[in-house]
């Protein structure tokens, strides 16, 4: 599309892709376990979350935690500790399952029975751009009414789908929507 930025940062602008900022904010709303997985407290909290019910175990297995039940039991009992590689897999599986579990409720809160949620779009940071190349990009807000595609892509961890879904939304900003492909922050409440 002609509005897409081809060489972002060529003149010193800083920012992240809009869909990354959206995913970051959705993650913030998801309230993951705060203690890192490398601490015993954080590890146990994640393992308990992933093994509480047979359904959770199945979801964890699907999310990549393909270890035997015996290993899981040993981890839970503290008899063995996961290898660093497995710690990463535990954390990834936890995030995936958690996102998947809360997606329904997050979606309902964001859609608000069709009223949607007001989204603040903070433009990219031009402090590193030489003044002749700086452009006036203002702070914009947008009411997003349908979050299904965004939340689904976020829960599935599909970056490309999230990018597409988010681009579909910011097109409503008007002809300058390309200026908001990269942002410093995207804020909304749920």
């Amino acid at each position: 599309m002609p509005q897409h930025t081809i060489e972002f940062g060529k003149f010193g602008a800083q920012g992240v892709k809009g869909h990354e900022a959206v995913a970051r904010q959705l993650d913030a709303l998801a309230d993951f376990i705060a203690s890192p997985v490398t601490t015993r407290r954080g590890l146990m909290a994640r393992l308990h979350y992933l093994t509480r019910t047979p359904h959770a175990r199945a979801a964890a297995r699907e999310a990549g935690l393909t270890v035997t039940d015996r290993t899981l039991r040993a981890w839970l009992a503290g008899a063995r500790n996961p290898t660093p590689h497995n710690l990463v897999r535990i954390d990834t599986a936890y995030r995936t399952v958690r996102r998947h579990n809360i997606a329904r409720y997050l979606l309902a809160r964001l859609n608000r029975r069709g009223r949607g949620t007001r989204v603040e779009i903070h433009p990219l940071d031009q402090s590193g751009v030489r003044p002749p190349h700086q452009r006036f990009v203002e702070f914009r807000t947008l009411n997003v009414r349908r979050w299904e595609a965004i939340v689904d892509a976020w829960a599935a961890g599909d970056d490309q789908a999230l990018d597409d879904a988010w681009t579909d939304q910011i097109i409503d900003l008007g002809s300058q929507w390309g200026q908001y492909e990269y942002v410093t922050n995207i804020g909304f409440a749920a």
């Binding site: 904010q25 709303l29 309230d31 705060a34 203690s35 603040e120 903070h122 402090s127 702070f139 807000t141 410093t184 922050n185 995207i186 804020g187 909304f188 409440a189 749920a190």
Partner: protein, 579 residues
């Protein structure tokens, strides 16, 4: 200046030509409005025969065309529908064909004079676009051309010397040329009323302001004539424009006309719980945060600034861990006087009412915080600053304005603390050296962002105090205190994510308390303790310094205790309060 006016008019003539209705329609419009050709001609500064030409097929050009199109637009807006009343003209005598003829007979003088001069370029930018001179008031160039920079005014303006409407200006200042007119406050205005002002013209200017006629820009609001009995002519001249101002004023209460949301919520809760005060209070406390956010939204309607709720937050404002704190030092005071003079002292513990409510008035950054480096402070911005605080040498009788900081070295403080330090280092107080600013995260700021919100809550609080309404009092208190405590990274209020505001408001409360301590000290009271947000312990007759009561500008007595009778008073002071 006249050169530039000429250029302006030249440029104006280059603008696209506004469309005019058909020739018959022009005449029709004018006649339906009851205007004579002479009136129109005088208003536009042309001769009546020119108007006749325009109404029989010729077309004006340039600025005249813009003015004529503007007039016809206004007439069409008023008289396009045949059912509308024929004439809303207030005081202008309607022109019958006879008077039109009379006007035509009277007109040639000014019309001829104006057609020779480039009059439509309108040398005074603040005069109205239509030269509404009546024939007898038209000054001949000879009267003004006596060497001084005297010019005639199309519309009377208040004399700079006496305030009465004056017809002339000298070097740009409207004033009377005759001293007798100027000194007599009740003298009739110099000129008879202007009878031929078509009242539609200025009022239609207010109804259709989109027309960019070059002369219509920047007509400043006229001050009403300060004389006790303005002559009718003055009222006709100024009344049109003050009418526009009155219309502007009238729109304000429409915005504010919503009923008091606090009282409505309290009444609704009481009805739902059938008058059970405790249950109603509990229910209200539960909904205090969403209600405060709704009130905030309501208070920002029509405001100049939007509340930016989710800006990017610098790392210094982020919590280090889930339960940790960020790096901002709020300068919370916690100070006990090291020693009192010998003897027994009666200490009064004063409580500042609604400290956080008052602290909502502070310089709040509006948008995203931007980073700057260097020892500069911009008064129009607010945020957080990394400073090296100055030495404080008055700890024996006044607390340090940055609180009791144990660690040396630079620290991140907020705008209210920095402003307090800058004030105290200024020539008026000269209590310390100025702080050294190393870096800042600031944004353009305003003190009025939460002002309406604060006033609504303060009014509700005052009413509740007057009525002894404990439910409303508790509700209002929960609203503002929870609003402040959850506006940062709280999960109880996700609508607003401004940890910077939270720190600034708290610091403002502490700074306010510090200033009260200074006031007590300056008034001869001995400050014994300054604690937390709202606690001030003093020795002496504090009632002559602080009014007592429960309003936000008053203080409340929390406790009275005695210290002393022994040299080790500070320990006693500390123990007596630590109950």
């Amino acid at each position: 200046m006249s050169d530039f006016d000429a250029i302006d008019s030249l440029l104006a003539s280059l603008t696209p030509q506004p469309a005019l209705p058909e020739a018959e329609a022009r005449r029709d419009l004018r006649e339906r409005a009851g205007l004579s050709k002479a009136q129109v001609a005088r208003t536009l500064g042309v001769s009546p025969s020119t108007v006749t030409g325009w109404e029989t097929g010729r077309d004006p050009s340039g600025e005249l065309r813009a003015k004529y199109a503007y007039l016809l637009d206004g007439l069409a807006a008023r008289f396009a529908s045949p059912t509308s009343p024929a004439s809303p003209v207030s005081s202008a005598p309607l022109a019958s064909p006879d008077s039109a003829a009379a006007g035509e007979a009277a007109a040639p003088g000014p019309a001829g004079a104006q057609s020779t001069t480039p009059q439509p370029t309108d040398p005074t930018p603040d005069s109205t676009p239509s030269p509404t001179l009546s024939p007898d008031s038209t000054p001949s160039p000879a009267t003004g051309g006596d060497g001084d920079d005297v010019a005639a005014l199309a519309v009377p303006e208040p004399c700079v010397l006496c305030g009465r409407p004056a017809r002339h200006q000298v070097a740009g200042f409207p004033q009377h040329l005759d001293a007798a007119q100027c000194t007599a406050p009740n003298a009739p205005p110099a000129e008879p009323p202007v009878p031929t002002v078509p009242a539609e013209l200025p009022s239609s200017r207010t109804t259709a302001p989109a027309h960019p006629a070059p002369g219509t820009r920047a007509a400043p609001p006229a001050q009403p004539a300060p004389g006790p009995q303005p002559a009718p002519g003055v009222q006709a001249g100024a009344g049109v424009r003050t009418g526009a101002g009155a219309r502007r004023r009238r729109t304000v209460p429409v915005v504010e006309a919503s009923p008091d949301p606090v009282a409505a919520a309290v009444a609704e809760a009481l009805t739902r719980h059938e008058g059970d005060v405790e249950a109603a209070t509990a229910a209200l406390l539960k909904r205090a945060i969403p209600d405060a956010m709704a009130l905030l939204d309501d208070c920002r309607k029509g405001g100049r600034y939007a509340v930016v709720a989710h800006p990017w937050i610098p790392d210094v404002l982020r919590k280090q861990s889930a339960r940790g704190a960020d790096q901002i030092w709020e300068a919370r005071p916690k100070w006990t006087r090291p020693e009192l003079p010998e003897g027994r002292h009666e200490v009064t513990a004063l409580d500042i009412n609604g400290a956080y409510l008052s602290a909502l008035k502070t310089h709040l950054p509006l948008g995203q915080l931007e980073h700057t480096v260097g020892d500069v402070h911009d008064r129009r911005r607010a945020g957080v600053h990394l400073i090296t605080p100055p030495e404080w040498e008055h700890g024996a009788y006044l607390p340090n304005p940055i609180g009791n900081r144990d660690e040396p070295g630079p620290l991140w403080v907020t705008e209210p603390t920095l402003r307090l330090l800058l004030r105290l280092s200024g020539p008026k107080y000269a209590l310390c050296e100025p702080p050294e600013i190393h870096e800042s995260f600031t944004s353009g700021a305003t003190e009025n962002l939460l002002e309406k919100f604060r006033v609504v809550l303060k009014d509700a609080r005052d009413r509740a105090l007057a009525d002894g309404d404990e439910v409303t009092l508790e509700y209002v208190k929960a609203m503002y205190s929870k609003f402040v405590s959850t506006m940062g990274e709280s999960n109880y209020n996700r609508e607003l994510y401004r940890p910077d505001w939270m720190h600034l408001i708290r610091s403002q409360a502490f700074a306010n308390l510090w200033v009260k301590a200074l006031k007590a000290h300056d008034s001869g009271l001995a400050v014994v303790r300054v604690m937390g947000t709202d606690e001030l312990h003093v020795v002496g007759d504090w009632r002559r310094v602080f009014p007592e009561g429960r309003g936000v500008a008053e203080v409340k007595v929390k406790d009275v205790y005695s210290v002393g009778a022994a040299p080790e008073t500070p320990a006693a002071a500390g123990d007596a309060d630590e109950n």
